[in-house]
Symmetry: C2
Subunit: 563 residues, 2 copies
């Protein structure tokens, strides 16, 4: 019997085509086969030398050119639009394309600079990409749900559709940023891989056998291809950090209350045991810092009821700089914890190589490094899992049900126990007590350091593996316990999996079956070239300190890896 | 048939007697009849001139004497213990009495000062009272529940009982404060009057026909009688502000995250839609500021996972001072909103007198005063009500059930609908949208001010009445909408109900039946002499600004009222 194509498939197909159609014909590409790695020389092949020069500059260099008028906003915008268009055709990383609008905005910025002699703001002329949770005038926000196409968060005929903008978008426009595309996410957002029925699978540009990570996977892939210099993702379990790690870029999970979430779409909105947070991703630590500081300069707490009145704290920046530069005779004044594994799953050999490199750098620089105890990870991971499932899956299932779209294994949801208010409260108490235990542990490290202070930051893997083989992301615990803690965590790119190096690490003993399984799934050939980033984490609301330390360490990593 | 006294009554009676027995025999008093007003001369009659001198000083004067060694900590502590002992015998305001321990601590402080020449901290030798939610070594925490007597929060044989201390207690000890008693609360904490089966009813010291307010009613009454110079209460719906208003003292509801709640007992712990917060109460605004700053100096965020890393912000203090002193030719640089009623219940004539006085002061001082729209109050009040009942009353009922104690009308709980996690999330979304609407409204006032800035603070009643007639607290909406907003609110004492003044305000039209009922319940004779404080509120985390403005205005109020 011949079956009709379901209507959700037709709607998804039409939207997929509409995204492609939004790319100007001149930027459409044809190919028969693609190499495994489509970054660098491969994508450069589609671009002019000038476009390459512009798009391979980071946000700091770009804004230094655009705010001074050396580069026009239009030229910069066109270059990134072109490169983003190609990126999407290579790895499926975009949900919305609005290049014409971007070029119009860029033109206005150029006119503004010409007329006033002043840039509109610190991001004047900087193209910024956004995960498809932010509402931007004139385009959809689907979050990968077929049932959200042509609606406002699934609501048909809602007057806000294609009209309202998220608070972050308003602030970015104020700052002079040029918005030009929205990037792909896994349906439901609750996945470390990016795949949905509309655009399919977002592949890793460095190794197209692998995942770009998730849920801000489109951001990760686009930045890896330099189709955008910087953008914003969100993170409730690792969704900024995982794509950062998998794509060799920088990503910050700030604590709740720093970057305004007001007016953005979300999954399980109103669940407030563990808040999803917005964080910047960028191709350089300078670019990440630029975006973070720029948003704070807009005083988001005046417009977003959940934002905290914390401007960029110059005093903490200064204190951290002093710790970095002020070294006594035997050791620097910064001390680090190193958490080699989370007590449940040890990292694959490739990630161990990255950890060993980082440890060697810290020791070579004279920093005291203490072993960080992983025993508190498990409870944080379990609290996170319970939190995500608290409503029994009702919210996620209701959005999938809008269109009747088929579920995808990596993002599948099934009905589970639905908590009542008292059970939610009990989980909140457990979470607070867990946070207290972790804080006490952190404070206790003052007894172990030569400085007499608790350690300044901790290094740990972002995932047990480099950019993962599709379908093999079995353990997100390296990122989720940080969400339960609401701690600051910044992913710093370290290296890429190297089949020659990592075969050294033979293991015959395992913590448990999952640990064995993930170890056995390490394949030096398939993973070869996959990026690996490590987390550098600090306590609650320590963004300034962690950004400054990341800036310091990433420079050193470059020296060691010869990047 | 003769019925046995239930065991819960026996347990309550034994505890009530144990509290009295903890008061030294020499401080026990006898009386046949008491005057209506037991403050001032009446209570002074039990004290020496030196005790009166000490106990009628505020926390600023006391610490200036004790930190310099002019007054010994022991002498100060003994004076307050004595006065608190009498206060309790007059109005039932204490749950725990630990004077011996206080005097031992005071002795150590005196020795410390003698030995080192330095005070232990900014609160050296200052007696501080605590609402009976804070755990202090050696004594119970009952929160008025009969079933909590001799247990840790209702748990028998819990090793924490009488052993652990709340984080706030630890910090107060670090600061040199002397803890000497815990003050009464209504059973469940969810009431604007203070009454429970253990100590009975906490009467208003200025007018013993009336309530001392709740739920920090024991704090309010004790401070009104100068049995303590300053203390800490908690507030999830007005529980710091109501007793402050009803007792002619200062009380601050800071925003969540300023004063550490870690390790304190609570009702419906883990409900995190609207967080209960801890706030200081004091007999002077200077005393209140001293306590607030002292706690922040302990960096509570290093020990309490829910505290924010916000020290006392000198820059905001300075900016506010500048606004206060910097006046241009026509108007001061501070502008105020005045919210005369909440759109549901107009204040009784006595409170209107207080509002009119405050408005006159503001206008005389040249401040711009704009009418503050009450239309957003109702939604905030409704969200608060739903939040309090979210678990269907289960938590409160479970604690009442421990002993089987009889319910009390003012604190009665009955089972209602129990929300599920999705309904909780929907309420959280509604709350956030409500906060956003209020923020937008506040920002919109920039169009109405001569300064071009939104108004700096708003004045409104704390309750529709002065210290209330028992059983007649029918509308807590003046305080609850502030909790939904998580705004800063500080109660400033203004005046007392005066039967001669308030008869002027005849009303014949009413907003609704409740409004009529509350108006009709105004009795100039009964209410005569009852204190009235007004709220001065600012936005989220504006404590420094609101404290500075309260300091400025309370000085002016004194001038006008001749206090």
């Amino acid at each position: 019997m011949h079956s009709e194509t379901p209507s959700w498939q037709k709607a998804a197909q039409a939207k997929r085509q509409a995204i492609l159609d939004a790319i100007p014909q001149k930027w459409r590409i044809q190919y028969d086969t693609l190499p495994i790695d489509v970054t660098g020389e491969f994508i450069q092949g589609y671009l002019t030398p000038r476009e390459i020069e512009i798009t391979e500059a980071d946000a700091v260099v770009i804004t230094s050119q655009t705010t001074s008028g050396s580069w026009s906003a239009v030229e910069v915008t066109e270059a990134f639009c072109h490169r983003a268009a190609i990126a999407h055709q290579l790895v499926n990383c975009l949900h919305e394309v609005f290049f014409e609008d971007a070029i119009r905005v860029a033109k206005e910025l150029d006119e503004h600079l010409a007329a006033t002699g002043k840039p509109k703001g610190p991001l004047h002329g900087l193209p910024v990409s956004l995960k498809d949770q932010f509402h931007v005038k004139g385009v959809d926000t689907t979050m990968g749900y077929v049932g959200w196409i042509g609606t406002y968060q699934g609501k048909k005929d809602d007057p806000r559709h294609r009209v309202t903008e998220s608070e972050l978008v308003r602030e970015l426009r104020n700052l002079g940023a040029v918005l030009f595309c929205k990037t792909s996410v896994p349906v439901t957002l609750m996945s470390g891989e990016t795949t949905n029925q509309i655009i399919g699978y977002t592949w890793n540009p460095k190794n197209r056998n692998l995942s770009s990570g998730g849920s801000s996977g489109g951001e990760g892939a686009l930045l890896a291809l330099r189709g955008s210099p910087a953008g914003f993702g969100t993170d409730i379990g690792g969704s900024v950090r995982i794509p950062a790690s998998f794509n060799g870029i920088f990503g910050l999970r700030p604590c709740a209350g720093r970057i305004p979430y007001e007016g953005a779409a979300n999954s399980i909105d109103g669940q407030n045991t563990i808040l999803s947070v917005i964080g910047p991703l960028a191709t350089s630590i300078g670019g990440l810092k630029l975006l973070f500081r720029a948003i704070l300069s807009q005083e988001p707490w005046q417009y977003d009821p959940l934002s905290l009145p914390l401007p960029w704290r110059e005093d903490i920046e200064g204190q951290t700089k002093k710790l970095i530069t002020q070294k006594d005779s035997t050791a620097s004044q910064l001390t680090f914890g190193i958490m080699r594994h989370d007590g449940r799953v040890k990292p694959q050999p490739s990630v161990k190589v990255a950890m060993d490199l980082m440890e060697r750098i810290l020791r070579d620089l004279g920093h005291q490094v203490i072993e960080w105890d992983p025993k508190l990870c498990r409870e944080g991971q379990e609290i996170a899992s319970e939190t995500y499932d608290m409503d029994g899956g009702e919210d996620l299932l209701s959005h999938i049900a809008l269109s009747g779209e088929a579920q995808i294994p990596q993002c599948s949801v099934e009905p589970v126990k639905h908590f009542n208010a008292r059970e939610v409260a009990e989980l909140n108490v457990q979470k607070r007590e867990y946070q207290k235990k972790y804080l006490d542990y952190w404070n206790s490290t003052a007894k172990l350091t030569t400085t007499g202070r608790p350690v300044d930051a901790v290094i740990c893997p972002t995932a047990p593996h480099a950019a993962v083989i599709p379908g093999k992301y079995r353990h997100t615990g390296y990122t989720t316990f940080i969400n339960t803690l609401d701690y600051t965590s910044l992913v710093v790119p370290i290296c890429c999996a190297d089949k020659h190096l990592s075969s050294m690490n033979e293991r015959s003993e395992f913590l448990n079956e999952l640990d064995r399984k993930i170890y056995e799934e390490y394949d030096p050939e398939i993973y070869h070239g996959a990026p690996i980033g490590l987390q550098l984490f600090g306590r609650r609301l320590e963004e300034e300190k962690i950004i400054m330390i990341a800036e310091y360490l990433s420079e050193k990593v470059k020296v060691y890896t010869g990047q």
